[in-house]
Amino acid sequence: MELIRILLRSSRFVTGFGIIASVLAFALLGPTLLTDVGPFQRVGGLFDPPSSDALLGTDNFGRDVFTQLMYGTRTSLFIGLVAGFVATAIGVAIGTLAGYFSGVIEEALMGLTNVLITIPPIVVLILLSVAVDTRTATTMGVIIGVTAWPWTARAVRAQTSSLRTREHVDIARISGVGSLEMMLVEILPYMFSYIFMAFILQLTGGILAEATLSMLGLGPFQTVSLGTMLHWSLLWESVRVGAWWAFVPATIFLSISSFSLILMNAGMDEIFNPTLRHTR
């Protein structure tokens, strides 16, 4: 497809995509191909340094860090994906409705959005996490998504507001097209590239939000994620003890995941925004 060919021309997109794809491959295929122990299996003692048995040593419970990294990345990415999806869906829905209908509906929705934006998300996240009994990865993703949608809603509202004045929308209106179809057919497709990039950013935010919550001890039960790895390593003072393998790999993976996604986004922005293109 033409679009893919153009995207492949952006070095930023290719690099970013390459990195995140590798991370994904590691997380998805690693458990079958690269290791033969489980993430909760005891393979050694407290903070064993890296050896031939355990490539990245063991954590405070004696579990293989290398394996944990794989499963942990998987969980973190999954939560990020759920959060991204939820946040984008809510943000796009609210933003489009507000931007399209304007007037009272817009005032009400944007008022709500603006109030929510001012509340520090971490506070809400903590409160929600404490209040909700089950702590599965999916629930976490939903909770994060539900607190992250406001800025997407604002941006989408602005775009919808401006798209609404375009002539093809007028033509559709005088052709008797109804409001729902108008939003889905005449407006949404024009925002697609933006929505996709917003989704990627929400994904990134979700991954980092999960890490934050987990490090505070509010992570998913009986699951290993990059955040929980960091949580345990902090709790057991791995830094003071010098067990770098307990916290450095997870940190690196968190960093490169976010970085590569943002790089990918920058590459896409170049393509969708011709004014940003480099002259070749």
Binding site: R166, E167, H168, D170, I171, A172, R173, I174, S175, G176, V177, V185, E186, P189, Y190
Partner: protein, 279 residues
Amino acid sequence: MVLAPPGSGDGRDAAVNGAILSATGLTKVFGSGRHATVAVDHLDFEIAAGEVVALIGESGSGKTTTGRMLLGLMQPTAGTVRFQGTDLATLRKRHGMKGYWRSVQAVFQDPFASLNSFYSVKRCMLNTFKLFPRKPPYAERLQRVREAIHTVGLDVDDVLAKHPHQLSGGQRQRLMVARTLVIQPQVLIADEPTSMIDASSRAAILNILLDLRAKFGFTVIFITHDIGMAYYTSDRLFIMHEGRIVEEGPADAIIRDPQHAYTQRLLADVPTLQREWVL
């Protein structure tokens, strides 16, 4: 042809006036308080069925806003728009806007923005049938679309298969006219239909519009800043300035002997071929 439902909320009989579209005290104010701008200032005019008129004005004159109010795309702040004697608000309440739009349609300025670039031409054209309460079967709909496209001088098979970005501005604008043909309205409002098209293609669009008017009898309202185009096409001209109609009359009379100072200045400022342009 579908007629709009008759209405006589105020007892006026449209047939007596012959006015198909009229405005009384039409006003639009944007903003409020100190920053309020009066875009359209108590307009009064009447357009008879079958006429070709032009609303002429420079940017900021309020002509586009007037057009949108006539189309029902914008609510006036005050005053009324009447179609065949019944005001728009009543029509909207009683029958919804679809009925009105079966009778009053538009062609807009930017052919590149008038079509949704994500969908094929065929889909856009077939969409117009949403206006009809009882859609004819698909085969018949397609046939009507094909006929309309043929009438405006485009190669039907070539155009239907394409997406808007594959067509030129002139072709797209013709398509917009074809779209209105499918609907067969009584009034066609053309808002700067040729300002974004090359000079050599302009005549084609204008001639199509005028031919169709001759054949089907619809009323055409041009909204434009191009006095030359307005003069060539229209029977009557309305000159707008700062939200008001400063002069109106038969096209010839206005061009040969403008009365209002603004009209005189406007005409003097247009570079023509024969007359000396005093700078």
